[in-house]
């Protein structure tokens, strides 16, 4: 019933995708985090922030 997709990223692909997402966010990640904590971030931008959090974590490996 469920469905899944997988994406494998090289370090350079991670960097490029993060750069693209940070541009899409339109503000610093720190400001976005403050807005999210205050429930004041747009829902679409929160999805972008979630993805940034995940990719940043993968980058720390």
């Amino acid at each position: 019933m469920g469905s899944s997709t997988t994406v494998s990223m090289t370090p350079s692909e991670l960097t490029d995708e993060l750069r693209r997402l940070e541009t899409e966010l339109g503000m610093t990640v720190e400001i976005a985090e403050h807005l999210a904590a205050a429930d004041a971030l747009d829902a679409d931008l929160y999805q972008v922030l979630r993805r940034i959090r995940d990719l940043r974590w993968l980058q720390t490996a």
Binding site: M1, G2, P11, E33, A37, A61
Partner: protein
Amino acid sequence: MSTLEDESDAFARRISDAVSAFIGDTVPFKATSSGSRFVVSDDTDGIVIPVGDVGTLALEVNYRCELDGAGLYLKVLSSKVAVYAGSRPKGDPLFRYEYVYDQGGGLPAGHLHVHAHRDQFTRVMTLAGVSGAARRKPAPDAELEAARMSRIHFPTGGHRFRPTLEDVLQMIQEEFGAKSGPNWPEVLRANRVQWRRHQTGAAVRDCPSEAVRVLEELGYVVSPPAGGPAPDREDRLAAF
């Protein structure tokens, strides 16, 4: 497909199967891997859970995992299951269950954050900060954050006995009246049994002496291995 991709895809599929069975419709999940790590998140704009005829809750699910060097053991390094009022997650949920494998710092590995406000909580947290409790000391750039109730980590049973995604989903069903899909009861039961079997095995590895004691009490005859009994892992038993 590499082992990491196999494992991450299977993990994402298991999570998707569980959430889809609860919702009664397919909820896609995405696994993104790099190096020896992978992240599994819902591949949606928010998992919408109908409540009653007009209300909705939204679910956010995230797992961060690692495969060991030999590619044999999958380790969940952290997980988050957050429940929001409304139909879209925006960052400030009603509550979130989290697990952090390598938590440290005096905080529990498995824990619950409640995003609510109560004056008495804020007062006690502020007093704790004034009294020197390190956890409640405000950071210079976030003076108002240290006394937020959502900053409290309510412990939920440690590494072995923490609640699962399925437990949170059942709680949403029971407490908020969310309607589940037709296959949910079977999936819930099967997944919970599988999880608790797995965790029982892990708990035995943490404390073989107690496993031997109970088995002997049940009439089993247990022989130690040639190299001597495996030691209890006091560090794991004592972990917060």
